[in-house]
Amino acid sequence: MATTSGNIKEFYRQRKKSGVSKPSNSKISTKKSLKNAATFGSDITQPSALISHGSPDLKDDNDENEDILRKFDMNMAYGPCLGMTRLARWERARSLGLNPPEEIEGLLKAGKVRSDCLWDGRV
């Protein structure tokens, strides 16, 4: 049941009721995203579920703040990260005299970041 052209996106145009709407230049961006697609060069077999907002959903919406916090989670000097909120772990590191960087406390208290460590709910 192959379609000969790459028009499957046009055929099954997604209409999202809420949230962000698809950018209008989706045709151009799909061409760009195909470079990152799992099946290189072919968009027929690329399931549309993996492509949302015009780019493959492989990166888990990480911004650089989350990256810094993940490095904090993985830092062995501050002990195990699982089972504690990040802020509690930061407080513990401070009370044990480990001098954790202040910017992490700032990030955590500012909100909009995950309060639990990266493994929480996944392990």
């Binding site: 062995m76 002990g79 195990p80 089972g83 504690m84 509690a88 009370s95 044990l96």
Partner: protein
Amino acid sequence: MEAMEIDSQNILQRKQATYSSLDDPFEIHKETYRGQQYSQIYFARLHLMRTLLYSLAPNWKPHLPVCTILELEKDRECIIVGTLYKHMKLKPCILDEYSKERSVTPLVKPHNFMHPDDTLVLEDDSGRVKLSGSVLLPSIYVTGVVVALLGKETDAGDFLVQDVLEAGLPPQIEHPLKPREDKHVVFVSGLSVGGSTSNPLQFQLLIDHITGHLGDEKEQGIAAEIVHVVLAGNSVEFPRGLLNGQNLASKDQSRLSEPIKELDIFLTQVAASLPLDIMPGSDDPANFSLPQQPLNRCLFPGSSAYNTFRICTNPHCFEVDNIRLLGTSGQNIDDLEKYSEAKDKLEFMERTLRWRHLAPTTPNTLGCYPFVDRDPFFIDSCPHVYFVGNQDKYKTDLIKGSEGQLVRLICIPKFCDTGVAVVLNLRNLECHTLSFGTEFSS
């Protein structure tokens, strides 16, 4: 008829002592459980003790490098600090139930799980290394003790231990040496009120002696010097045969609560006279894992009306007249006895002090609350008196530390079996026993 004269000058006054409770670290009502595992308490313990051992290492072996386990190099002498893990062949393992070969399990469960083939492993947050050599004896150590080791890595990949550094006795706050009057603290444990082995008459005799209802003026004078009573666990014994998973009939329900009511009646008499501390033990209606939380006030409607009645945690730390007393109801020492050996219980107690940790086998083989940011069993200030309840025999000793610390160790025997209570004189930390018998020799 002569009127009876009450000679008001001869009323004996009981001596008073100041008291302060230091049980705060053992309370867990401020903690919230978020699904954490025991890795957190092990990290807190390692960090606390490692900082301490790093500060002691230069005095012990100057000019020798300290490194982490991953940084070990072959044939380079260095000091490593970590938590000991003892691999024990006979220790029951849950995985044995799933092993393919269903060998016949021995019917007799050993009381002590030691074996000549037990090996020690040192673990820190970077890695672990097997320990070899004859300096570190596996029969003495247990899993959970943090030590510093001097040695070098061998070709076989394990660490040949040349010397061990334990944390040693913690610093002690000196109490003033000026001679004071004799004041006594009475320790009792294992009353097991309501149990088959307990004799209510024996306990009543003890109470009558403490409250000054027994004897002539001289004996009452001795009793007036008692300023405090500590009940170190297992004060009550419930008829466990009733708790077989079925609904209790109403007469069984009243039978279940009889032991604690009997205990309350006894304790009201004591609390009316002098301050009393009651600690939970392994058989008491308290939580299982250490630190055991205080027994509920509602169990003691009569005694809790008195402000001299104090419910305490297990372990219990308090100060009487600025003398620091620390003790448990026995679970920590009993667990050490299962996984290591010593010539007597006092030696186990001394080891826990030298390791600066009340219960090193928690949470490995002894139940413990999964603390996240601290290890409350770490002993940061050396007590003057260290007591352990529910032991088989009365034993006591005075140990000295390298910095002049002096600790009186007391093993309190089970009262239901022996009828013995221990009396400590706060002036000179001397101990003697009070034994009560109710049998009449023919």
